[in-house]
């Protein structure tokens, strides 16, 4: 029994439309992942009348239901995994010391290999940046030279996880029915 008023196709079209309204690049990416299809294993007799089977790989399109699940997984990667990845990076930087050159430090090193360094900031958050405009880039110049990695509070991640779960429930609340059978 279908517990939704909409079909999988309508749900997928709605999701893609909503993405396109907000960011064409993300919508195109999601559509590209869906259009790549998936591999299945097919079996056929090795020869006509033979009972022995051979297996071969075939790439097939996703069903609308599978396409929806795939789209949700793409969004999970961006909306959940990325902030978790950034948080983990900052966590791993916290217990590491930051080496500040002392008065006798030289950027060209020393003949003895010994350097005048002061270790500090052990156990505290570090400021970590990723270049957006690289050292060789001359055009175009955007409005951001770098991105500072920022920690995302865990409760924010939990809320977005529940939003994702809610969406997953809504696209999966059709029970298996024979309408989809070939």
């Amino acid at each position: 029994m279908n517990s939704n008023e909409y079909t999988d196709e309508e749900a997928l079209a709605t999701l893609i439309r909503k993405l396109e309204e907000r960011d064409t690049a993300l919508a195109v990416h999601v559509q590209g992942v869906i259009n790549a299809g998936r591999d299945i294993e097919e079996r056929e007799p090795v020869a006509r009348g033979s009972r022995r089977l051979r297996t071969y790989r075939r790439t097939v399109p996703f069903s609308p239901d599978e396409a929806l699940q795939t789209a949700v997984e793409v969004l999970r990667a961006y909306f959940i995994e990325l902030p978790q990845i950034v948080n983990s990076t900052l966590d791993d930087f916290r217990p590491v010391a930051l080496a500040r050159p002392g008065d006798a430090w030289s950027p060209f090193g020393t003949t003895t290999g010994e350097e005048d360094l002061v270790l500090e900031a052990l156990g505290v958050d570090k400021e970590v940046q990723i270049e957006i405009e690289t050292e060789t880039q001359i055009t175009p110049r955007g409005d951001r030279e770098y991105l500072a990695l920022a920690r995302t509070p865990q409760d924010l991640i939990e809320v977005q996880l529940s939003n994702l779960a809610r969406l997953g429930d809504l696209i999966a609340s059709r029970e298996n029915d024979d309408d989809d059978a070939p």
């Binding site: 749900a11 909503k18 990416h29 997984e73 270790l119 570090k126 405009e133 977005q160 969406l167």
Partner: protein
Amino acid sequence: MTTLRDLELAIDQLLNHPLGMGYYRLVRPVEEKAYEAYLFGLCLRAARELGVTPMLRGISGAPNPFIFRGAPGQIHSRSRNYGYAEFSLNGLDLEVHAGVEFQGTSGMTHEVDVCVMRAEDARKCRAAPDDPPASSLIGCWECKFYAGNLQKVLGRAFVGLMDDMGTNVRLSGLCSNSMHPQLRDYMKLQRRPYPHFLLSPSNPSGEDIFVNLLKAELKKMASA
């Protein structure tokens, strides 16, 4: 019975959340580098679990802020105060770098997303600008953040890169939050890089495998 309006509201709630479209647009330009930074952090974790405290360094001074390259670059580049990490294990000095180019055995240079290398070679290449040789590499990892199935070409390309790095590299791996079933088969041959697939903070056992492999190799090298 759920309506199309219910579905639309749920989608809006997801996309309008601070970790929705706004976050995506913010981080999208550097998503690959953010994943490299994560692997860099796992290398620091491995060093710490061996009982040493790595130091964060900048090529031109204190790494505050610590800067990751946005594109492959030379280890000796001082155009910005690019960061790296340094630690010593039983007298063996090592460095961790991201996005640095190495010279392969053929003479061609290759970007290594994240690596652990001999500090002595790194210092020489900073003092007298040069690309470090492949022989200075201890471990190197290709890092791919991907929303969707990992592309098979990445595995082939990295195997080719490692082929040009010679036989001295003790550890190598293709790391990604995603995976491809055929890539796992491709990587299972004995001398191929380790497939660290589905590697992310939501997969602690995957992280443990990465960290423990690195720890084991470093301990063996340093007789620790």
